[in-house]
Amino acid sequence: MNRFFIIIFVLLALQIQAQENSKIPFSLQAGVAPNYYFNNITTFRDQVDPINYGIQGRILWNSKYRISLGLDVSPQKMYQVNDFPQDPSDYIDLWAIPIHFFIAMKITPKLYTYGGFGPSLLINNVSNSTSSLQSNSFSVSDAQFGLGFKVLSYKKLDFSIEAKYFISTKNEDMNISFPLLVSYKF
């Protein structure tokens, strides 16, 4: 719980500095994000494929200050594991779907930073040559932090590239991703 208050405190401290900015209150963001998993798996560590991908989805309210608030739902494959020694047909992957309260702050007109926190749905897909199953669980206090750069603006569209660090606390899964985003302002 302390962590929650620390984040709130930091974000509020940042907002004090905020200045008037956007005239368009809402934006919808979507994109794709290749990612790299920081492999801390002990069992079958060598079978882990750490390079994966995710999809980005956000809706934001842009305040009159530098701050934007919204919701981030960005499914991402954290890792996949195959070539198991006992059965090469075994396959396991883990998807994380964060459902995060999201806050972003412009540093310059093109550069922004952001953070998000909240729960994530974890989906374990397990299969082999004869069967498959899906196991779902929740990680309740996950977080993401990132830095973005607006590459191009065209009418109501913005194109951005980001670097994002995501941590799922339930089993200490972490990755870094590089989302390519398009924002539609409305």
């Binding site: 940042l14 801390n40 069992t43 883990l94 199953l133 196991s135 977080a143």
Partner: protein, 415 residues
């Protein structure tokens, strides 16, 4: 750097900070000291047991001890932080002494375990054998991991009281011996922990039951796979989502052992320990009792065939599990342990009643339990002063604790 940025960075560090449970097997006792020794004659063992005091040396391990034989180990439990020493012993025919090689450890201290060697000289041994209740001394050395030795001497003060000798008290170790959060050498709810628990003073075990997707009862506390209990693996879901063979192949407990089945666990407890009671803490309702019943009945039959005295209790911690028990045919014949109330325990024909310790000593209910022939255990009592108080003022037949070495000390030292 602005204050905001500093706060932000500090916040990130705090967010990332956490403590993980780890398991350290620690040092092993030095078997070479016991080369060329012979087994201790049985008649020596009961004479060696009793209450000891630290008569000289560093009180690092405590100032008061009880010494008890637990199968082949001469075990000492101290008054300090649940510290215990377990020795293997051998009779040295060349100088008629007893050589002891052991290890000390505390579940409450983060210190690594250290070796201890000790000797009962021929002269001291003759005091034990020739004079009833004669004080004798054990000369000991802690062998630090850097090779330095810390000498200390234990002096035998008195035998155990008649209250202790005539008691059938149950020292029940939580989670099969102890939690991962404490300084224990093996994972909680693991086969190695079951075999080790007696060295910590336990004579009973509480173990946790979950059911796999293919209905195999396994010993595991939490409903899901997580890094508190297991080495980090690619799996994160519920235990009940996976078949047992798949879990066996893909999941390792924190110390690398496999998740044991109920059958494996009962077999090893019956075959390799002198544990006298097992409390099966059932974490799920539904079909679990139907799946457990044949396993347990087979184990009871096996134990009887070996003349092994052991009581196995099906735990009933809540109404959901109670309903599952009531749905079984002939449920009153099942040896249950009811946590709900003494009235419910009676109506279920339970063999044991187990109220939470925060309810107090419940002397009136204990009297009802005794009158009905029901054993009474309280759980989960960890504080040394509370354990002492419940032993002195309570009337329980056993206490469940995360620190059996503390309970063992407080039990055996009673006058």
């Amino acid at each position: 750097m602005k204050l905001n940025q500093i706060i932000f960075i500090i916040g990130l560090f705090l967010f990332s900070a956490c403590t993980k449970d780890t398991i350290s097997n620690g040092v092993s006792l030095d078997q070479t000291i016991l080369n060329n020794t012979q087994p201790i004659p049985t008649q020596y063992k009961s004479l060696m047991e009793g209450v000891f005091t630290l008569s000289s040396g560093n009180p690092k391990l405590g100032s008061s001890f009880v010494g008890v034989w637990k199968r082949t180990n001469f075990c000492f439990f101290s008054n300090r932080n649940g510290t215990y020493i377990y020795f293997e012993a051998g009779f040295n025919p060349t100088d008629s002494s007893i050589i002891l090689s052991g290890v000390w450890r505390s579940p409450l201290l983060e210190e690594e375990s250290e070796k201890v060697k000790a000797i009962i000289s021929k002269e001291e041994l003759s005091k034990i054998l020739n004079t009833s209740n004669s004080s004798y001394t054990i000369s000991c050395n802690i062998i630090q991991n850097n090779g330095n030795e810390i000498p200390f001497t234990l002096q035998w003060l008195r035998p155990f009281s008649n209250k202790v000798k005539n008691s059938d008290f149950h020292i029940l170790a939580h989670r099969g011996g102890g939690r991962n959060a404490d300084n224990n050498p093996y994972s909680e709810n693991s086969l190695n922990m079951f075999m080790y628990a007696e060295k910590m003073g336990a004579n009973g075990l509480e173990i946790d039951i979950q059911l796999t997707k293919d209905n195999v009862p396994v010993i595991y506390h939490d409903p899901d796979i997580n890094i508190r209990l297991t080495q980090k693996s690619p799996l994160v879901g519920a235990i009940s989502d996976y078949n047992y063979t798949f879990l066996k192949n893909n999941i390792k407990l924190l110390d690398g052992q496999e998740i044991p089945t109920l059958e494996e666990s009962l077999n090893i407890i019956i075959d390799s320990t002198e544990i006298k009671s097992i409390w099966l803490d059932v974490k799920v309702g539904g079909a679990v009792f139907q799946k457990m019943k044949p396993v347990i009945m087979n184990s009871i039959t096996k134990a009887r065939a070996k003349n092994r005295k052991i009581q196995i209790f099906f735990g009933i911690p809540n109404d959901e599990v109670k309903q599952a028990v009531l749905a079984l045919p002939n449920y009153t014949e099942i040896p249950t342990l009811c946590e709900l109330s003494i009235e419910e325990a009676k109506s279920l024909n339970s063999k044991a009643y187990a109220p939470r310790w925060t309810l107090g000593t419940l002397l009136e209910e204990m009297a009802q339990a005794k009158a009905a022939g029901i054993l009474a255990f309280t759980w989960t009592l960890d504080g040394q002063s509370a354990i002492k108080e419940y032993l002195n003022k309570g009337a329980f037949d056993g206490i469940l604790t995360n620190y059996p070495s503390i309970l063992a000390y407080e039990f055996y030292i009673q006058e």
